[in-house]
């Protein structure tokens, strides 16, 4: 395994395979994928649609168990094939952050409440959660929209709130699935740079699935996926 930044592996996957269906309808979405990501490292997963990127990301995110293979997060084994070795919900709560193409903010909560709820779910007291949520929104430059509902925010602002939510519990791993697909190139780059900033300053590992080749210089490493297989790593230009 190639560790580009730091010594501790934030995530390590070994021989991950995901097969949907069986018999004539069997589809191999991911085949023998192995890699690791260090703390503070930002990694990109590239590849055409149907290459298996999202399958890999959701497997690491513990919401779509692999058919075979093992997943370690923070050095702890969490999945062995489709068998969970930890309480998945509790593990996600404490160690993982998610950002998607759509911000997926909870529609009936304001921007600050969307971040606050992530903290309260992790047993942070409401007042402290509110304070921390405001700090995160401020860090991401959307504090002035804290009381707005998602409908009243632009796509970029929504995505920043989603990033703030993903950061709320200081996860060791942030998983982002095409987070800039709905944004223009300028705002897309801002979000990518935000991930790098977060990784550098907070020590989280970040895995980003993207089609956007214009921001590849932001990443420490990029992998190309095709037909469910992971290609060789390319070292980025940002280090």
């Amino acid at each position: 395994m190639n560790h580009s930044t730091g010594d501790i592996r934030a995530v390590e996957v070994c021989n991950l395979t995901k097969i949907y269906g069986s018999g004539n309808t069997e589809v191999v979405a991911m085949k023998d994928v192995s890699f690791d990501v260090a703390k503070g490292e930002v990694m990109a997963l590239l590849g055409p649609s149907g290459a298996g990127k999202s399958t890999l990301l959701t497997a690491i995110g513990l919401i779509n168990p692999p058919t075979s293979g093992r997943i370690f997060i923070g050095g702890q084994p969490v999945m062995d094939s489709d068998r969970a070795l930890v309480n998945l919900a509790a593990f996600r709560r404490k160690h993982l952050g998610f950002v998607f193409q759509k911000a997926n903010l909870i529609a009936f909560l304001s921007a600050v409440q969307n971040v606050q709820i992530a903290l309260e779910i992790n047993d942070v007291a409401p007042r402290a959660a509110r304070k921390r949520a405001m700090e995160l929104l401020d860090y991401l430059g959307v504090a002035d929209r804290a009381k707005n509902l998602p409908d009243a925010l632009s796509g970029g602002q929504q995505q920043r709130v989603a990033v703030a939510r993903a950061l709320a519990n200081q996860p060791s791993l942030i998983l982002a699935d095409e987070p800039t697909a709905a944004l223009d190139s300028g705002r897309g780059r801002q979000v990518m740079e935000l991930f790098r900033k977060v990784a550098r300053e907070r020590g989280s590992a970040v895995i980003v699935v993207t089609h956007d080749h214009r921001s590849l210089d932001v990443f420490d490493r990029t992998y190309e996926m095709e037909d469910g297989r992971l290609g060789a790593a390319s070292i980025g230009h940002s280090a």
Partner: protein, 403 residues
């Protein structure tokens, strides 16, 4: 942070409209209970207000409220002679329907034993009890008459001198109180032609018999008014109401009268039970059953509403699960919303019912226990209804966020 409250705050219009619908449904449940109690109250209120210790009625009948009961009016003097009896009053009861100013006028006529009973025991809302033995009446407001109104019943005109409120029969007809004599006149009134035909028939019957042929004067007598014929009995009354003297043993008096071969005795309590389990029993059971059905329907509707609200939040629930929310957070969101919906619906039901029920044509009696029972029912159906939504929410997978 209370997710249920936040969701409601952002969708307050829809929530209030939904609660209004549930509230109206719950008001029906409450109203059915009120009608049920009202029916029982109306069925027994006359018996309760008259306060007689026992009713003497025609042998082997169940009294004037259940079937026709006819007794000679002079029975009351026999009853007064029984040791321990303090008072005995004739009671006449029947329903009449007339047309006054083009509108049907239906009333449950009660005859009071003038002059001993002038209706002083009635709870009048206006006017006074009867002050003379003829041509005065006390009417319930529901009949639609006012003080001073004059109506023609039979061949006489009666003036309304008193008004009661809520005195109705078990079938919902307003009560009208007359002297027993007037009540019988109203009951047995016949047209002039009918009287003439009856007299002619009487004459013909008499003429065809020995007594008529041998006593020609008798033919003239039988052609006169029936009240002048000693051979014809006086009009019959429906029952005799009896009160025993203070210190007298009711059971002993009842046993004495019950032994008479021409009378059946019903005590106050047995009369009440006859009314409750006879006249209105089926209606009460029907209302009770309908109430149960309404509760079931309310539960189903509420469950569907909660289920739909949960479906609307599927994506948000998936996101919460992805963030690692515990089941109790998500179940709490749904349960709290169901309870809030139920509580608001309950409040609306009570508030609207309070204004609406008095406008109903029949009495709707809401007791405090009814409100507690409904609160319990609402709590139960809120919890039951939320189970469907919670079951749906538990099935939502976190990866639904991606779809």
């Amino acid at each position: 942070m209370n997710l249920a409250a936040q969701d409601i705050r952002q969708n307050i219009g829809r929530f209030v409209l939904t609660a209004l619908g549930i509230g109206l449904l719950l008001m029906l449940v409450l109203g059915m209970g009120g009608i049920y109690h009202g029916l029982s109250f109306e069925a027994t209120q006359l018996v309760d207000q008259i306060g007689a210790d026992f009713w003497a009625v025609q042998k082997d009948t169940r009294g004037p409220f259940a079937e026709i009961s006819r007794l000679p009016a002079n029975l009351k003097f026999r009853l007064l002679a029984v040791p321990g009896v303090q008072s005995a009053h004739s009671f006449v009861s029947h329903t009449v329907q007339r047309e006054v100013q083009g509108k049907p006028l239906r009333m449950f006529v009660q005859g009071l034993d003038w002059p001993d009973d002038r209706g002083g025991w009635l709870r009048l809302v206006a006017g006074r009890p009867l002050a003379q033995g003829h041509y005065e009446m006390i009417a319930d407001k529901i009949i639609g008459l006012d003080l001073g109104d004059k109506i023609l019943l039979g061949k006489d005109i009666y003036t309304v001198v008193g008004l009661t409120g809520g005195m109705v029969s078990s079938s919902g007809d307003g009560m009208a109180f007359f002297s027993a004599r007037d009540a019988m006149d109203v009951q047995f009134d016949v047209s002039g032609e009918t009287a003439r035909l009856e007299r002619a028939a009487r004459r013909a019957r008499t003429a065809s018999q020995d007594v008529g042929r041998l006593q020609p004067e008798l033919l003239e007598r039988v052609g006169g008014p029936s009240s002048t014929l000693p051979a014809l009995a006086a009009p019959l009354v429906s029952a005799i109401l009896v009160n025993v003297a203070p210190g007298a043993d009711l059971n002993t008096v009842v046993a004495t009268v019950s032994a008479w071969p021409d009378v059946t005795v019903h005590t106050h309590e047995s009369q009440r039970q006859l009314l409750l389990h006879g006249n209105v029993d089926r209606a009460r059971r029907q209302l009770g059953l309908f109430r149960v059905i309404l509760v079931v329907v309310s539960t189903i509707i509420m469950a569907l509403i909660i289920y739909t609200l949960t479906l609307d939040k599927t994506h948000d629930i998936a996101m919460l699960k992805l963030m690692g929310a515990r089941h109790r957070v998500i179940a709490g969101l749904i349960l709290q919303q169901a309870l809030l919906l139920g509580a608001l619906g309950y409040g609306i039901a009570c508030y609207i019912g309070q204004w609406l029920f008095p406008l109903f044509p029949r009495r709707v009696m809401i007791a405090t226990t009814d409100l507690w029972v409904l609160a319990g029912i609402v709590l139960a159906i809120s919890v039951l209804a939320s189970l469907l939504g919670i079951a749906q929410a538990m099935r939502v997978e976190p990866n639904k966020v991606l779809s």
